[in-house]
Amino acid sequence: MKSFRTCHLCHCFKIIASKNMSVSVDGSNVVPEHLSNLAKQLNVKSPVLSKVVNNHQEKLKFYPESRWLVLFEYLTQYDFKTSELLEMIDSNPDILGINRQDLQKCMIAWTNFSFDDKKLRQLIVSQPSCLLLNDKEILSRIPKLLSYVGNKQNRLLELISYSPNILFDNWKYIESKLDYILLNMELGPTQFVTTSVMSSTLFDLKCRHTFLIKLGMYKPRDPKANPNQITGNPSLKKIIETSDKQFAVKVAGVTAEEFFVFKKIFKKQLDEENDEDSDEPEYYSDDD
């Protein structure tokens, strides 16, 4: 589940791809009869449907047509457009495996938090994996996350759209990352919700942050200074959404070799620290 890493950009690509698809497919292929029937029932264009089916032949053959109908019927109640639904299936065919009861529970749980309808829909379209959660998971996880983003619904939706893994990962791990960002890096919710920081590992985050501190490029905030004052620190986006090489050369302004060596040393240091702490067993149990 941790492999879902899509953001708005991917979403845009998908839209463009699907548009091109519909143009290129037109007329070239003969659509099988059962698909054109299904397309009629679902009220979508048959070439687009056949393209989606072709993309995921392996997975889709396990799901009967009834699943398609259920999904379309139920989600159109929530104002999802048929084209959006196809797109969702294209990006994550597993959502066809949800039965009606679970789907219902899940959607009720989502709507329970009075998110903005349109934004919630956008989120689910771009991250269909949101539908794979069961209602208990949603009901326990969302309030916890909300408290970290200052109880702003929109911010949370944005955060999830960048890194949907925060819904699935172990809460302890997510919490340690959020704490690190808020307490050690002294960043506010507005600064991290628009980055994919939560889908990177805590080690990478710590390593890059410590690297910048040692270079003297990341300074802690002066507690007496005006909280709105802009710090000269590089933005989180630059820190986390770059490759190792880009980060070393463009953001930190040193050679890539130095960063690679530092990473090695830092890993060793962390391992040694963990060895020392190993007296107390760590519990990795899920919160739910």
Partner: protein
């Protein structure tokens, strides 16, 4: 329920670890907010370096800063008074390389390159000769020859008054020239608030006395008995803790990679009489002894506790050093007051300095303690005095190597210049600065050397080659 739980937990942990229960009492001093607020000497040092070195090194400073704040790399000097062959073999198995072999390989490579170049040059010359009959004297070597320069007293005899430099006290212009740097004798009030980057400006250009700088032509010669091991670039494997072998002495001495260079620069020969003026903790002195070359070595330091440190090191590595008699002696004199002219032909001057790496790592014995501000600001004066004493005492033809473990240009080139100036003013000694750039060329794959220094060489901390900082300058007395 809670109580029973804690009770079982307690008994559980007691059974397993035999912990002594320490009940932390929160006092004023141990309160977390106070601890967080406290500014340690380390933090002071970092702040100072950010200000000072930031202005000296510019963009390069952050890379240096990173290296200084990361763990540094060691080199291992194999103990020849133990089972040296076996130890060298073991170190090689660990993947360490012998510095001598690296140097020899690099020298060989350089030789091959130059011989190729020579052939090409010869070809060009022949072509030229064939093309034009005139035999132009282009090929004259541009080697700087040593020209004897007169000392202050001699030059004063021939000197004329320089009228242009007289300052008319009536005129208000140019009055700034009168306020030349005068070292402070006392510090009052806001002494710590003087950013040292401003202090540094005083030491810039005013070269009005002759300094001879000659290239060191001889190739780097590492004494044949000295076995020094290190790991490759970017390889941070640690050396295991040195064990003591059958002869009850430790296998090898671990020290910062830079610290071996002053010993190389001394260019030790058989029968040398060596003085180590500020010897503690004795690493460089031990490395000097490991060459098995010097006839005598005198280790000097100012405090008894520091002398004890040298004794400790020596006893750990040489079992019978106390019966060596005049071969290894210890003295406890202020290095500025040593007066034994023409006794030694090699003097190592590893002066007390801000010790940059140590100052950033440890709060103990830290130069940046507020109480030591005065001592710290006086350092350049003391260093120059010690170097001057060394230059006064060195025998003709002898070598003085000045070294610090600071990045500060004041404590490095600045001090060398001050000492040379004093020597020029007060004595008839002719001192030549040897430029080791060429000699250290074969070490370039092992160290990151600084550029743009006037007199000496500097090992810059650089994360993949995290040695130093170490500055060294070789001075030779010619008359």
């Amino acid at each position: 329920m809670f109580r029973t739980n804690t009770a079982t937990l307690l008994s559980h942990s007691l059974r397993h670890h035999n912990h002594v229960l320490i009940v932390h009492v929160r006092t004023k001093k141990t309160h977390w907010s106070l601890i967080k607020k406290k500014i340690h000497p380390k933090d002071k040092a970092l702040e100072h370096f950010d200000d000072f070195y930031g202005s000296v090194f510019g963009k390069r400073w952050k890379s240096l800063r990173l290296a200084l704040l990361s763990p540094h790399k060691y080199i291992a000097v194999v103990n020849n008074f133990g089972d040296s062959e076996k130890v060298s073999q073991e170190l090689e198995w660990l993947g360490a390389m012998n510095i001598r072999k690296v140097v020899e390989a690099n020298q060989q490579k350089a030789k091959e390159l130059t011989s190729e170049n020579n052939i090409q040059e010869l070809d060009k010359k022949i072509k030229k000769l064939l093309l034009s009959d005139e035999n132009k004297s282009d090929t004259k070597k541009e080697n700087v020859e040593y020209v004897e320069k007169a000392s202050l007293h001699e030059s004063l005899l021939e000197a004329e008054h320089d009228e242009s430099r007289l300052i008319d006290p009536e005129a208000n212009s140019n009055i700034g020239g009168l306020y030349q740097f005068i070292p402070a004798t006392e510090l009052h009030g806001k002494s710590e608030w003087i950013p040292e980057s401003q202090h540094y400006q005083y030491y810039e250009e005013n070269s009005d006395f002759p300094i001879n700088i000659l290239n060191e032509e001889s190739p780097l010669n590492i004494p044949s008995q000295l076995q020094v091991f290190t790991f490759d670039r970017g390889d941070f494997s640690p050396f295991p803790h040195p064990r003591s072998g059958a002869s009850k002495v430790s296998d090898y001495y671990l020290m910062d990679g830079g610290s071996i260079l002053p010993v190389f620069a001394l260019d030790l020969k058989f029968g040398d009489r060596v003085l180590d003026m500020c010897s503690a903790p004795g690493g460089k002195a031990l490395a000097t002894l490991q060459t098995l070359l010097p006839e005598s070595l005198v280790c000097n330091d100012i405090q008894e506790s520091r002398i004890k440190k040298i004794h400790n090191v020596m006893s750990e590595y040489i079992s019978d050093y106390q019966s060596w008699g005049s071969r290894l002696m210890f003295t406890q004199i202020n290095a500025r007051h040593i007066n034994e002219p023409d006794v030694y032909n090699k003097i190592l001057v590893d002066v007390p300095c801000t010790n940059d790496r140590h100052s950033l790592e440890n709060n103990e014995n830290n130069m940046f303690k507020p109480t030591r501000a005065k001592e710290r600001l006086q350092l350049p004066e003391i260093q120059a005095d010690i170097l001057k004493t060394a230059l006064m005492n060195i025998a003709v033809g002898g070598t003085v190597v000045y070294s610090t473990c600071s990045l500060s240009p004041i404590q490095n080139d600045g001090v060398v210049k001050m000492a040379l100036k004093k020597i020029w003013e007060e004595t008839n000694h002719q001192i030549v600065v040897k430029d080791l750039t060429k000699q250290f060329e074969p070490l370039k794959s092992l160290y990151s050397f600084g550029k743009g220094l006037k007199f000496g060489q500097m090992v810059m901390p650089f994360l993949p080659l995290n040695y130093g900082p170490l500055y060294l300058c070789k001075l030779v007395r010619v008359k």
